[in-house]
């Protein structure tokens, strides 16, 4: 339940940011037009109302016997490693390029999923880079940096 409430709290923060930004947008010059901020403001407000009602429902479920199910993370270490791998790839890919970035990503995901044989990791990374070069760079003419 804590996971769900945390997720709802983060979504609430994002919806509040959208509502605040939308409320500060300029009015349209045309009086017939609702302007750029009105629709996002309505959407963000509706999202906040729904979030509050879902959060209350989740909180109430906690008290009842039926509400015992919760979001589970069977392998938190592996998931965290995969998330770090994705984040690291997103941050470094601009500097190291597509091939090195993909190698990093393949290795991170394989390690996170429990693969420990280094030769499998090396083979997968090399195989994928070969596939990407053949398919994208050669066949589809997409210049991979």
């Amino acid at each position: 339940m804590k996971t769900r409430l945390s997720a709802l709290f983060i979504l609430g923060a994002v919806a509040t940011w959208f509502a605040w930004q939308a409320a500060n947008m300029p009015e349209s010059m045309n009086p017939s037009d609702v302007g750029p901020g009105r629709i996002p403001l309505i959407l963000a407000s509706a999202a906040l109302i729904l979030l509050v009602s879902i959060a209350i429902g989740t909180w109430r479920q906690r008290a009842s016997a039926a509400g015992s199910e919760s979001a589970s993370f069977p392998r938190p270490g592996g998931t965290l490693l995969a998330l770090c791998g994705l984040g690291l790839t997103a941050l470094t890919i601009v500097h190291v390029g597509m091939y090195a970035g993909c190698t990093l990503m393949v290795a991170a995901i394989l390690l996170a999923a429990g693969e420990r044989r280094w030769w499998v990791i090396a083979l997968c990374a090399a195989g994928f880079n070969l596939f990407a070069w053949l398919c994208f760079a050669r066949l589809l003419q997409v210049p991979l940096q």
Partner: protein, 506 residues
């Protein structure tokens, strides 16, 4: 229609298109056979490969993949009792018992041939209905398009899974994401911290993130746990014709059910297969065999779920409304090619819909031949180790997102939305409404504001158009449908034991 259809056949009988048809079909089988992948993710993964292609080649490949992946879900359902797609749940009820009885090859044969028949009959129905529907939609203005987008969004009730509020929340998240970028009327940037966001959230990287990256994280969570025992396949090709004679009625009835349910946006292949299964059980002379290895059950489910694919293409091509997450991804693929789906598609780019029609008709025999010929290969796909699969899917998404704009910005968007998708799945918030809203949001906002400017800000003018009123009524009915279904279910429960038995099957 006939002239355009002949032109469509002329277009697809060229080597690049035939290769695309073949490639799409094979990829569809491979991706559909792996539990957890399926048509949405498969189509999203193939989109980046189609950027440099001619639009006809690209769309033929994507539709072929959609069709074959919908069938592919039956492979793991029959061999492992693990449906590769939601639409193959009913297939597992009889397919897996057949497999346990040593008739896995027979079950695969029935499922492949039934899928082919369903796909062919529904393609004929698609050609028959989509063109008049698009001609009718040519009369639509901004008000009607707004109402149409609203109707599309109201289908969130069908895509919400267990909880409507969570589905609505997902839709609002999608609509807010769709607001990022330049305002469609006065052209000022909204919610855009950096200029890269001025063009809005790139659709394909967003879909790759939401569907594929979140799935990669789920696979990582499962680790090496998902492995399958090899299954011995015999008799895939040697099924006598008399077995099919018994199934004739089921095949025709399930095709019609599948197509009609498929046309209703949001209903989809999974509902179609369940209704067709239940209908086959009701009219069968041996209803007791259902759930214990009845070929009729496999045929009903597989015919209907493939017929629903063509059905879902009708609102997409004729109205520009995606009725499912996979159809929303197809909209993204068309948009990238510079083509707007909807009624004008038939007038401006007739080669696209008619080549799709022709490829559906021509692709069916190909799908059956490849399906039967490669049955052993598809069966082996269920044994691919999860870590390798996850890493390949993740890295393909990375390259695919980069290829959308030849820049690293979409890769970042994909990663962020991937993590977001994973967390939303953990919070039981469905992803399909987000995808639907990302596609329909801009259409809804732009047309609402245009309609209001034309009517000088008079909101009531929206109700002056009969088509708009009809669409508003349909939207309300669609939103209220889960409540109506719940009430009806309570009342009809004692009178409809067949459905309950079907639903209670393992």
């Amino acid at each position: 229609v006939l002239e355009n259809l002949i032109n469509g056949f002329g277009l697809i009988l060229q080597w690049p298109v035939l290769l695309a048809l073949l490639g799409g079909t094979v990829s569809g089988y491979l991706l559909g056979a792996i539990p957890g992948l399926g048509p949405s993710l498969g189509v999203a993964l193939l989109v980046p490969f189609t950027f440099g292609m001619d639009p006809v080649v690209a769309m033929v490949a994507l539709v072929a993949l959609y069709m074959a992946a919908e069938y592919g879900g039956a492979i793991s359902a029959i061999l492992l009792n693990t449906p590769g797609t939601a639409a193959a749940v009913a297939t597992a009820w009889d397919g897996y018992p057949m497999s346990r009885q040593g008739k896995a090859g027979f079950a695969l044969n029935i499922s492949i041939v039934s899928s082919g028949i369903g796909a062919f009959l529904s393609a004929v129905l698609l050609i028959w209905t989509a063109v008049p529907l698009s001609e009718f939609a040519l009369h639509f203005g901004a008000t009607e398009y707004f109402a149409l987008a609203l109707f599309g969004l109201s289908l969130v009730s069908s895509l919400s899974g267990k909880s409507l509020p969570r589905g609505l929340l997902a839709m609002l998240i999608g609509l807010l994401l769709a607001c990022i970028g330049m305002d469609p009327v006065i052209g000022i940037p909204r919610f855009s911290p950096i200029p890269d966001f001025f063009d809005g959230i790139p659709l394909v990287p967003a879909l790759l993130g939401l569907y594929a990256i979140s799935e990669v994280l789920i696979m990582v969570e499962n680790g090496k746990a998902v492995t399958a025992e090899p299954v011995k396949l015999t008799g895939v090709l040697g099924v006598p014709l008399r077995e099919y004679r018994k199934l004739t009625k089921t095949l025709f009835r399930s095709s019609a059910i599948g197509y009609v349910i498929g046309v209703i946006p949001g209903a989809g292949a999974s509902i179609a297969s369940l209704i067709a299964y239940n209908s086959a059980k009701r009219s069968s002379s041996e209803p007791e065999r259902f759930g214990n290895g009845s070929p009729e059950g496999v045929a009903a489910s597989e015919t209907a779920n493939n017929a629903a694919v063509s059905g879902s293409l009708a609102p997409l091509l004729a109205l520009g409304i995606p009725g499912s997450a996979t159809a929303a991804i197809l909209v993204g693929a068309l948009t990238i090619q510079g083509i707007q789906p909807g009624p004008l598609l038939f007038a401006r780019n007739p080669e696209i819909p008619y080549s799709i029609f022709a490829s559906l008709l021509l692709g069916v025999p190909l799908m059956v031949i490849i399906g039967l010929g490669g049955a052993r290969i598809w069966a082996k796909m269920v044994q691919v180790p999860t870590p390798i699969l996850a890493s390949m899917v993740g890295a393909t998404c990375c390259v695919g997102a980069y290829a959308t704009e030849n820049s690293f910005f979409p890769v970042g968007v994909m990663m962020v939305l991937g993590v977001m998708g994973y967390l939303l799945r953990k919070a039981d918030i469905p992803l399909a409404p987000i995808v639907l809203a990302l596609v329909l949001g801009p259409m809804m906002e732009t047309n609402l504001r245009r309609a209001l400017v034309t009517a000088q800000g008079d909101y009531l003018s929206l109700l002056n158009h009969p088509i708009t009123l009809g669409l508003f009524a349909l939207s309300l009915a669609s939103l209220a449908m889960p409540l109506i279904r719940k009430q009806l279910g309570k009342k009809l429960k004692p009178r409809r034991p067949m459905l309950d038995e079907a639903g209670a099957n393992p």
